[in-house]
């Protein structure tokens, strides 16, 4: 009954979306605002309707309606309530509904804004949002239906179907299979919604960009309207990525936080283009250049969001066969292809109207450095995209080679793994380049900077950073890549702090404010700029953590009898005991107790454990970690003697500086919050921004 309600609501939302698209276009063509208003109402209707659908799924999950195939696949009796609720996004069908639900919420929120002088955008924003929404709903209705029930056919098979097959009876399993144990972690509960919020909110700036292209209102109005949306989207996406890293560190049991897995990269790619876009739009706002490029970036971001949504859930890129067997793969790729080509066609159509208003006058100007920044981000994107699709390309061409003997010499490919060494080597220099730009770009001025003026601004922090480099060198770090990384981090940090200092000092002198007050007011006056600088500081802290763990991680592994010890660097663990017991949520826990000493001094006990989930027959390795600013000491229980527990195998990692990564992540998010915080009076902000910019330019000179 509830399943039918949810499904019915889903179908009505789909129809309502299609109607909205039609009504908006019809209204524009016929110049009848009533139709556009009707489309707007259709848009607003999608959110409550999808709320009914989402609540229906949650009800089914919580009440344990295992006759519903989705419920049986992601929940079980023993799961706690909050996990049953979050199982809404624990599987493909549910997460697509969740995606659509968030999308409807955001699109409705946009529709409710005061449109007054932007009325011409409205119908097209509705069309873009609803076309996207309709596509996802289409997948839910026809391919990944979360309301399909299980039926026992007369031949004795159990098959999922929405409606009763002839002669079949409803089949209700005793219990469900339970949520994938990897997803039973607080990080995994917040991480997907954050990522999805990031994904769906990037659709709003895209919708405005397309509206601008269609209506021909190609000034930077669309950028100004969506500036905050873009920042909010970016905030959520960044938060999603950071939480994902933390989750991997805590749960996956390989001592790392980022494994260059296609799923991770899928979420990282829209972040790359989104970050490039955030920087690049400033160039258009201040200088009226790179207009085409901004359009390209937002179009890319949109299609990478769709690509990412599809990749994170489906695992479809794991093989050509998985791709060919599922209906969802071809549908997604057609949609991405169509929207990409259509968007580019619209862009071509307006190409001449998007002419630059100015010329770029210096290669050391901020706009030129932003262009370079964009180039590096796109470079990283190229590396990532090629790495993600290469296994599929290789396998597909291998199949071609098998079919066509003439080509078999060239196309010998089989399925391959493209792992971290490829990504690290290829993106390392590009990331270093970005750090360097992060150091010099804030000191350059729009338009006028020359080598001389930039040099004059840079030399003080540069000299200070070289002193820092010397100190690090003396302290015993001799790895050149690490030295370069630390030096760049010091440089950026010093430049950023120098910028804060200079501006606060100026205020202090001018207005007689105390330095902390000057700093506070400064950030309040130009939040995007100073929020951006805080973000840069966050990135530096994260970079320090990443250099620490990537370059200086050490590990060892050994099998110990009770009472025996294992040393790694300054740490030693002693195996005390191991307990094995069943836990009420359906797992068997093997929990070891080890004592840890550092330089011979006892510092505490750690409890690495291995959880085995009976339902899904999946083991989970949960580390025991001692965390300090200096390092993490990370102990994994790899194996043990099942009955006697006399001996057990431990793997131990020493992860220097890794907590700087997490702390940097927090600073990063705080900076984004500063930048994205709503202005009290959003309309005059544009005027103010210009005057602020003049001030900033003067100060940068």
């Amino acid at each position: 009954m509830i399943a039918n309600l949810g499904y019915g609501s889903l179908v009505i939302t789909f129809l309502s979306s299609l109607y909205g698209v039609f009504a908006a276009i019809y209204g524009v063509r016929r110049k009848e605002p009533a139709w556009v208003d009707s489309a707007r109402h259709a848009m607003l209707l999608t959110f409550p309707l999808l709320t009914i659908t989402a609540l229906s799924i949650i009800y089914l999950l919580v009440a344990g309606h295992y006759e519903v195939s989705y419920v049986a696949s992601v929940t079980s009796e023993s799961m706690p309530l909050f996990l049953k609720v979050t199982a809404l996004w624990g599987g493909q069908a549910g997460s697509l509904v969740f995606w659509s639900w968030l999308m409807a919420a955001f699109a409705s929120a946009v529709t409710l804004r005061k449109w007054e002088r932007d009325r011409e955008f409205l119908p097209w924003v509705i069309v873009v949002s609803l076309v996207t929404l309709a596509f996802f709903l289409l997948l839910n209705i026809f391919v990944e239906n979360p309301f399909e029930r299980l039926w026992l056919t007369p031949s004795g098979n159990v098959q999922p179907a929405m409606f009763q097959p002839s002669g079949a009876t409803l089949f209700t399993p005793q219990d469900g299979q339970g949520l994938n144990p990897l997803l039973r972690h607080p990080g995994m509960i917040i991480h997907p919604p954050m990522l999805y919020l990031g994904f769906v909110s990037f659709i709003i700036p895209y919708a405005f960009a397309i509206a601008a292209l269609i209506t021909g209102r190609t000034d930077d109005r669309w950028i100004r309207i969506t500036r905050r949306w873009t920042l909010v989207a970016w905030l959520f996406l960044s938060l999603g990525l950071i939480l994902g890293g933390r989750w991997a560190y805590d749960v996956l049991g390989w001592g790392g936080y980022w494994g260059w897995d296609p799923v991770e990269i899928a979420a990282f790619m829209p972040w790359l283009t989104g970050t490039a876009f955030l920087h690049s739009v400033m160039t258009q706002e201040k200088r009226g250049i790179l207009k085409h490029w901004n359009m390209v970036l937002i179009i890319l971001t949109y299609d990478l969001v769709i690509f990412g949504t599809f990749l994170t859930r489906s695992g479809i890129l794991s093989s050509v066969h998985a791709f060919a067997q599922s209906a969802i793969g071809p549908l997604f790729f057609s949609f991405i292809g169509l929207t990409f080509v259509a968007s580019l066609a619209l862009l071509m159509n307006r190409w001449n109207e998007l002419k630059a208003e100015n010329e770029m006058s210096s290669v050391f100007s901020r706009e030129a450095l932003f262009l370079l920044n964009n180039f590096l981000f796109i470079g990283i994107l190229v590396v990532c995209f090629w790495g993600v699709i290469f296994p599929l390309v290789s396998e597909a061409l291998g199949i071609v080679g098998q079919r066509i003997p003439a080509l078999s010499h060239i196309f010998t490919g089989q399925k391959v793994t493209v792992g971290p060494p490829y990504y690290e080597r290829a993106t390392g220099p590009l990331f270093a380049g970005l750090l360097f730009l992060m150091g010099i770009a804030p000191l350059s001025a729009w338009r006028h900077s020359t080598f001389k003026t930039l040099g004059r601004a840079v030399w003080k922090p540069l000299a200070a950073s070289i002193v820092v480099l010397a100190i690090i060198l003396i302290s015993g770090v001799h790895n050149w890549a690490a030295l370069l990384g630390f030096w760049l981090s010091a440089f950026v940090a010093l430049v950023t702090l120098y910028e804060f200092w200079r501006a606060a000092l100026a205020r202090h002198r001018q207005h007689g404010e105390s330095l902390p007050e000057a700093l506070w007011r400064l950030a309040g006056r130009n939040r995007r700029r100073y929020g951006g600088y805080v973000i840069h500081l966050g990135v530096v802290l994260m970079a320090i953590g990443i250099i620490g763990i990537e370059m200086f991680q050490t590990e060892t592994q050994a099998t110990l009898k009770q009472g025996e010890s294992l040393s790694l660097g300054r740490y030693t663990i002693t195996y005390d005991s191991l307990a094995n017991f069943d836990y009420r949520d359906g797992r068997n826990v093997s929990r070891a107790v080890v004592s840890v000493t550092r330089d011979g001094k006892y510092v505490g006990q750690l409890f690495p454990r291995r959880d085995y989930y009976y339902e899904s027959q999946q083991p989970m390795t949960i580390p025991g970690v001692r965390s300090t600013w200096e390092d993490d000491f990370y102990v994994l229980l790899v194996d043990w003697q099942p009955i006697s527990t006399q001996s057990a195998t431990f793997k131990v990692y020493h992860n220097p500086l890794v907590n700087w990564l997490w702390f940097g992540g927090i600073v990063f998010i705080l900076g984004t919050l500063v930048a994205a915080w709503p202005d009290r009076d959003p309309e005059p902000a544009a005027v103010k921004a210009t005057s602020r910019f003049k001030g900033a330019e003067a100060s940068a000179r």
Partner: protein, 177 residues
């Protein structure tokens, strides 16, 4: 009792290679006589096994390095590495053996042969192309060029733009002249 295992590979290798050579020599000379007796297994530490397993990927799970994969199958594969090491195989021989058995996908990156070269060549090629375009665009910006109406038209054939976005940038950059 204390085991000190945090040795670097450099420290371990001379010892073990020496040990292994000795073992191989012993095995070869004493083969007929000792064929019946089990030979004592040489000491291959977990770290030696992991050093090789780290560079490989679990042949059954998606994207999980072999040294950390918690499945039973992977534990057996690690044991196999240990056996091969004990038998005196080199790292190269072991990885070749795994590739032969389970395909190129067990390697962390594709081997640099045949079509697989494309994974290493395409990104630098695209990035260098982009850099070239960027360089030309920036140097053109530096010296204000005289108005050349011909340049505002698409001249896509002059540079082999392999990438959609690079092509876009190029076209746009040309317009800036």
């Amino acid at each position: 009792m204390k085991k000190k295992i945090g040795m670097s590979r450099k420290q371990i290798f001379p010892v073990t290679t020496g040990l292994l050579t000795l073992l191989v020599v012993l095995l070869l000379t004493a083969l007929p006589a000792t064929a019946q007796q089990p030979t004592p297994p040489p000491l291959i530490s977990d770290d030696q096994v992991n050093a090789i397993a780290k560079e490989m990927y679990c042949p059954v799970c998606e994207n999980v390095p072999l040294d950390v994969c918690p499945t039973q199958a992977c534990a057996q594969w690690r044991e196999l590495i240990r056996e091969k090491l004990a038998a005196g195989w080199s790292e190269k021989q072991i990885s070749d053996y795994f590739v032969e058995q389970y395909g190129a996908r067990v390697l962390a990156t594709p081997p640099a042969t045949g079509f697989y070269w494309m994974i290493y060549l395409v990104p630098p090629a695209v990035i260098l192309l982009g850099l070239f375009i960027l360089y030309r665009a920036l140097s053109a910006w530096k010296q204000p060029a005289p108005a050349m109406p011909g340049l505002t038209q698409r001249t896509g054939s002059t540079a082999p733009a392999t990438d959609e976005y690079i092509q876009r940038v190029e076209e746009e950059l040309k317009k800036q002249k």
